[in-house]
Amino acid sequence: MLRTHSSSLAMSVSSSQGLTSIRASSNMVEVFVDGKPVMVESGTTVLQACEKVGVQIPRFCYHDRLSVAGNCRMCLVEIEKAPKPVAACAMPVMKGWNILTNSEKTRKAREGVMEFLLSNHPLDCPICDQGGECDLQDQSMMFGADRSRFTEGKRAVEDKNIGPLIKTIMTRCIHCTRCVRFASEVAGVEDLGTTGRGNSMQIGTYVEKMFMSELSGNVIDLCPVGALTSKPYAFTARPWETRKTESIDVLDAVGSNIVVSTRGGEVMRILPRLNEDVNEEWISDKTRFAYDGLKRQRLTQPMVKDASGQLVATTWEDVLTRVAGALQGVQGSEVGAVAGGMVDAEALVALKDLLNRLDSDTLCTEEIFPMAGAGTDLRSNYLLNSRITGIEECDFLLLVGTNPRYEAPLFNSRIRKSWLHNELQVAMVGHKVDLSYSYKHLGETTQVLQEIAAGTHPFCKVLVQAKKPVVVLGSSTLQREDGAAIFKAVSTIAQNSRVSSGVEDGWKVLNVLHRVASQVAALDLGYKPGVNAIQKNPPKVLFLLGADAGCITRADLPKDSFIIYQGHHGDVGAVMADVILPGAAYTEKNGTYVNTEGRAQQTRVAVTAPGMAREDWKVLRAISELAGVTLPYDTLAEVRRRLEEVSPNLVRYDDVEEANYFKQAHELSKAVNQSLLAAPLVPPQLTVKDFYMTDPISRASQTMAKCVKAVTEGAAAVDEPSVC
């Protein structure tokens, strides 16, 4: 079976590169770029052929992830012996063409187009946020004329209000229609469009409507001029003043690659980083705009509850001595820990090592995962096994009890991309939600799930015909009491459709979509999913590591229990604690996070943690030293070596460690004897207003609060300062 797989791979590689001689003559075309010959596939555009050689043609409206518009005309290049210059982004190459990218005519064309674009463009550079990173500025310097012939008046356009996130100054718009194409193709909301023509053309929503998509912030990156800019970032910084740090987003489980721009020790904005496998070049609105929550409600000083019950700031020495004393004064079975959703793997392993040295193994995560059957012993049970790029190859997708649009927006955008270009069929079992693509809604009861698993549902006929099926189970369904039974049913569906499709062994069908960034790393390190173990055996000393979901409260614990909270925001967990240890947020530490596919990625320090806060694993190491069970690592490298000892995939960054044993996991799940409850499968995030505030950082963010207000009461209700 391995042999057939590798031979099919070899066949596909040779056909795509056109190495075999029979293919070459029909597929590849020879063109010349400034005299240099290059072989390209037939059907590639002039612009792509030039890029293959390394010549970049200037453009405004062309974007390689959107459809071709060809309306800016900046990409005009001369073809030898052709009467007119051609738009390089739209014209497919013909055999033997000589593309002259720097000839007299090409240069004249570029100067002319630039002159026209600038003729109606306002002189806003000093007050425009795009200054310094503006395509128009850069291309006019490189390709435009040096003197102006403009003596007429410029037209002006009214600004449109499309929400509290995007600032629109439509006078600067050059009508490239990138935002229109993005909204209709990638985001799936057909709100933006063009009205009028010629000089009176306007881009907008025509009626006063908010551009309410979870990916709306990406138009800010797409817009080549300062027409669409970020409202929270307006007038705060210039791009050359900022330091850029590459990092990972942890507000959801996708692990989008970001760039954190900082200046003077504060985060100015967050931009996406290109990663073809995870987030392409988009990020969701929560990722992009929730950074102002990093400055509010922060824990900056160690705190202790004094005699009157008030939390009072104190020193590290004091608080660490208390914590160490509490840990030393109890037996192993009376200590427990709960880990939250944004904790890095270094802190998780330090906490586990610390508690194990104190004879305790009661380390739980807030998110539940059913332990019946194979549970978390087989990695394939809790990962997004097909990977995010696998969605592009599959032809049938079944979503169970999840709303990927708001739980993992980048995953949803990949599904939409596949639905749009590769004719993916999507079906959903669960509450009917508005996804940005059409799908077949099969029902929301567990009865439907049972029928599909048994093969009696009428939909099974379609499922059987799928060649490369994928089943995605949302982690919110596993939080229910019948989570094990749901997992068993979905596992059966996945196994049956795998067998009936006859797909090769490398293809994985069963996937779980998580909602928190630290769940996969915690399960890899051996944490018990769900706080069952703590509820059954309430400990005297409870360590909350960033645990803000409120799964365990004071009521569940014995009367004189001691709660230690370590985290970065004063949220639910800090309120019920006796001792508070201030930790670092994701922009302030070098942490390892494993996304829902099983890909380990690392965040880097962009700003230092405020006040007396320290990196999380360092706090735990200090506690261990004072408690007499010193952990064997002093530096980050040593902690990562320990991570590698436990699970080597945790330090193999940007690589997915694949998991296997689906058949065995399925066999084990068959032994589960739980019955499905009648309650319908409803994911927690149904509409866009549930999307914005889901974790301590976004709950503390004023921008996210404005978004929620705008969605519930309308864009006009949001109080904006009235600067231009």
């Binding site: 590290w316 943690a609 360092k618 190491r621 200090a622 030293e625």
Partner: protein, 128 residues
């Protein structure tokens, strides 16, 4: 075995470089010794000239410590460069081109000691 012997002879053959002052290690060490003797004789008059608050014995101990820092060096050219720098320092000290503060810098008195172990660094601040 044979390969390591070959590399050793190969390494020895490569080492024909232009000397700075001394042609071999013994000459370089002789220069270092002469420098030490010159400094040793200069220390008491330095203490007197700059009105330092140290005793001559402390000065001699510091001199020994500074020379001991480089006792592992075997390359004659490196030893020559260190001797040249030592002679420059000696010239500046003899001619009172330095000042009290420059001499006392050898004693690191006002430098705050950086904490070395994990817990002291943790209490002290965010150390990268």
């Amino acid at each position: 075995m044979a390969s390591s012997a070959a590399t050793r002879s190969g390494a020895a053959a490569v080492k024909a470089v232009k000397p700075i002052f001394s042609r071999d290690l013994s000459e370089a060490r002789r220069r270092a010794r002469e420098l030490y003797r010159a400094w040793y004789r200069e220390v008491p008059s330095t203490v007197h000239m700059f009105q330092l608050d140290i005793t001559a014995r402390q000065g001699h101990e510091k001199l020994r410590e500074m020379f001991d820092r480089n006792k592992h060096v075997t390359d004659p050219r490196v030893i020559d460069m260190l001797v040249i720098k030592g002679k420059m320092e000696l010239e500046e000290t003899i001619n009172v081109w330095k000042q009290k503060t420059h001499i006392m810098r050898y004693f690191h008195e006002t430098e705050a000691q950086r904490p070395a172990d994990f817990l002291s660094r943790f209490y002290h601040g965010h150390d990268p």
